[in-house]
Amino acid sequence: MKRIASFILALAATLVAPAQTTSPNAMPLAIDADFPGGNILVETIEGDTVHLKPELKGTAKPWFYWYFRVKGAAGRTLTFVFDKSVMGVRGPGVSLDAGRTWKWLGADAVKEGTFTYAFPAGANEVRFSVGMPYLRADFDRFLARHKDSPFLQVETLTKTPKGRDVIMVRIGEKGTKARFAVAATARHHCCEMMASYILEGLLEEALANNATGRGLREHAEFLFVPFMDTDGVENGDQGKGRPPHDHNRDYIDQPIYAEVRALKEKLPAWSEGRPLIFFDLHDPALKVDIHETVHFLEPESRDQAQRLDELTSLLERDQQGGIIYSKQTTMRFGTGYNRNTPGISSGWARSLPNTILGVTMETAYANAGGCEVNADSARDLGRDLAFALQEFLKAHPELAIKKLEGAQ
C-alpha cells in the first residue's frame, strides 16, 4: 500500500511538479526515471527541496541503485535528500549530456545523503545517479567505434523474457585458433555498472592494434557477455538479491534466467576444451572497508589460487592506470564473504574441467584505496588487467600443452 502511495506521489510529482520556475514561460520542473536504466521514487517536492529514494523494483532487501533526470531546473538551485546509505563517497554522478558522460559531484557537495546542485543556466536536462550508469546504448557506442575491426564478432547469446537480445562479443584473430579461451561477464547484478567500464577497457585492449592487443589475440580467443541481466540493466532494477535468487546464484541444475541457461551451454562449447580463464566482474557494495578497494576473490583450488596470485602480481607490477591496484586486497578463500556460495558464476566456471582460472573481480563504485573510480579510470583498470593477462598467457605456454595432453 505504501509502495503504491509513493508511486502515485512520484507520478503526481512528475506530472504536476510545482512550478517554482524562474520565469513564467520556462518549462515546469519535472523529475523522472522514464528512460533506460532509470530508477527513482520521488517522495515529496517542497519548494527547492526534493526527497527521494531508490525504487527496489522487486528486490527484497534495501539496495542503493538510483538514476533520475531533472528537467526545467535551469538556473535554479535544488536540494536532493536521500538516506545516506544510498549515497556514494564522492557524491552523486552527474551527467549534462543525457547520460553519455559522468562526473562525481564530489564528497564536499554531500552531507548525510543530501546534496545541493546549482543547475547551469542552459542545462535543460541534468541526470543524477548513485554511480555512472552504463547501458546497452553505451555498449552500442563502443561497438560502433570498433565496427570495422576485423577481430570483432557481435552475436546474440539469447533473448530475454522481455524480448531483448542478450549481446555476446567474440574477439580473436580470423582464421586461427588461439590456444587459450578467455571469457568475461558483467552485470549478473544489473545495478553494478562500474564493472562495465572495466569490461570495456578489457575489450578495448583485446581489439587494439598495439603490442598488447596483438599479444592477447595471439594467445587467446575472447568471449564477453556485457549484460548478464539485460532486462534488469535496461529496467533500472537493483538486481542484487532479486527473489527467488539473483542471476549470480543461478548457476544451478535448472537455471531460471535465460542468460544463465544460455551461458552454461555456450561457454563450454565455445571453449572447446582449451584452457579457460573466466572473469566475472562486480561492484559488490557502495562503500566502506573492502568495498573501497579493487579486489579479487581467491579460488579454493590451490592451482587456481596460485595463478590468480601470479596474475595479480603482474597487474600490480605493470599497471599504469589511475586506480592503483594492490594485490594485498585479495580476499582469501574462506575469509570474509569468499566461501563456497552455491550457484555463483565463477564457482560454476571453476567446475569446468578445462578451467585454469575462474575468478570474481570486485571493484568499488567511487573510491578504490584513495583513487577515484570513474568511467575513465575504470576503463584504464580494464586495460591494465588486459596487459597483465597478456603477460600471464605469454609466460605459460605449458598450461595450454598440459590441457591438450589431458584432453587426449
Binding site: R317, C371, D384
Partner: protein, 234 residues
C-alpha cells in the same frame, strides 16, 4: 618529395646528435638502442643499482624498466617502481654552464597521502640538489638545494591537488658553475587541463657546501615515470 624531406630531417637529427656527442653530452630518451622495450635499464648505458645488494630482490628487474606508456600513446618511457638507481660519468662537461632537462610524471592516490617523497631525482654533488614529488598533504612537485630529501622542505612549484597524474612535467635546470646558481623551469598541464609554467632564476647552490664545478652522479629514487633526459653543455 616526402623522401627528400625525410632525408633532410634525418640528416639534421644526425648532425644534432653528432654535435651533442662532440661536447661529451648525455641524452637518454629511452626510445632507441641501447634501450629495449620491456627491459630493465640496469646495466644499460651507465645505469646501475644504487646499492648492489638490491639486485637480489625478486622485483629488482622491474624497478626501472622501459615500458610503452599506455597513457601516452604507447610511447616508451622509463617506469620507476620503488626504484633506487644511479648513473655516474656524465662525460667531460667542460663548459661553465650546463643544462639538464627531463620529464617526470607521477601516479598517486588522491586520498592516501604518504609522509615522504615518493619520487626523487637527485644530483650529486647535492648543492643544486633535488627535484621531487612530495606525496604529503602539503606536498607536490618541487625542488630543493640540499638533496637531503626531508619531507616538507624545498620549494613546491605545483601543489599535490593540482597535479595531473600520468601527464609529463618537463623540468629544465640551467646550472651556472661560475655564479654557483641555477635557473629552474617547469612546464606541463594542471589537473584541470590548464597550462602550467614555473620559472625561478638565479637560485643559489646550497651555501653550506663547497663550490662545485661538475655533475658526478644522478640518483633516481621512488615511483613514477622519467623520460627525455639530457645533460648538455651551454
Amino acid at each position: 618529395m616526402k623522401n627528400l624531406r625525410f632525408l633532410i630531417t634525418a640528416g639534421t637529427a644526425v648532425v644534432c646528435l653528432w654535435g651533442a656527442k662532440a661536447r661529451g653530452d648525455y641524452i637518454a630518451n629511452f626510445r632507441a638502442p641501447p634501450y629495449v622495450l620491456d627491459a630493465s635499464v640496469i646495466g644499460v648505458d651507465g645505469w646501475e643499482y644504487r646499492f648492489p645488494s638490491r639486485a637480489n630482490r625478486p622485483l629488482a628487474p622491474y624497478e626501472a624498466r622501459v615500458v610503452a606508456l599506455r597513457w601516452d600513446d604507447e610511447k616508451p618511457g622509463l617506469r620507476l617502481q620503488g626504484a633506487s638507481l644511479k648513473r655516474t660519468s656524465f662525460g667531460t662537461l667542460s663548459s661553465e654552464k650546463v643544462q639538464i632537462s627531463f620529464r617526470l610524471a607521477v601516479n598517486f592516490a588522491d586520498a592516501a597521502p604518504r609522509r615522504n617523497k615518493a619520487l626523487r631525482v637527485i644530483f650529486w654533488p647535492e648543492t643544486f640538489g633535488e627535484i621531487f614529488f612530495d606525496d604529503s598533504m602539503k606536498g607536490g612537485l618541487g625542488y630543493q638545494g640540499d638533496g637531503l630529501g626531508k619531507p616538507g622542505q624545498g620549494t613546491i612549484v605545483l601543489p599535490r591537488a593540482e597535479i595531473k597524474t600520468r601527464s609529463f612535467y618537463t623540468f629544465t635546470l640551467l646550472l651556472d658553475f661560475g655564479k654557483q646558481t641555477y635557473d629552474v623551469a617547469v612546464t606541463g598541464v594542471k589537473k584541470d587541463g590548464s597550462p602550467f609554467a614555473y620559472k625561478a632564476d638565479g637560485v643559489e647552490f646550497s651555501p653550506s657546501k663547497a663550490p662545485v664545478n661538475k655533475i658526478e652522479t644522478l640518483l633516481l629514487l621512488g615511483t613514477g615515470y622519467f623520460d627525455a633526459f639530457s645533460v648538455e653543455s651551454r
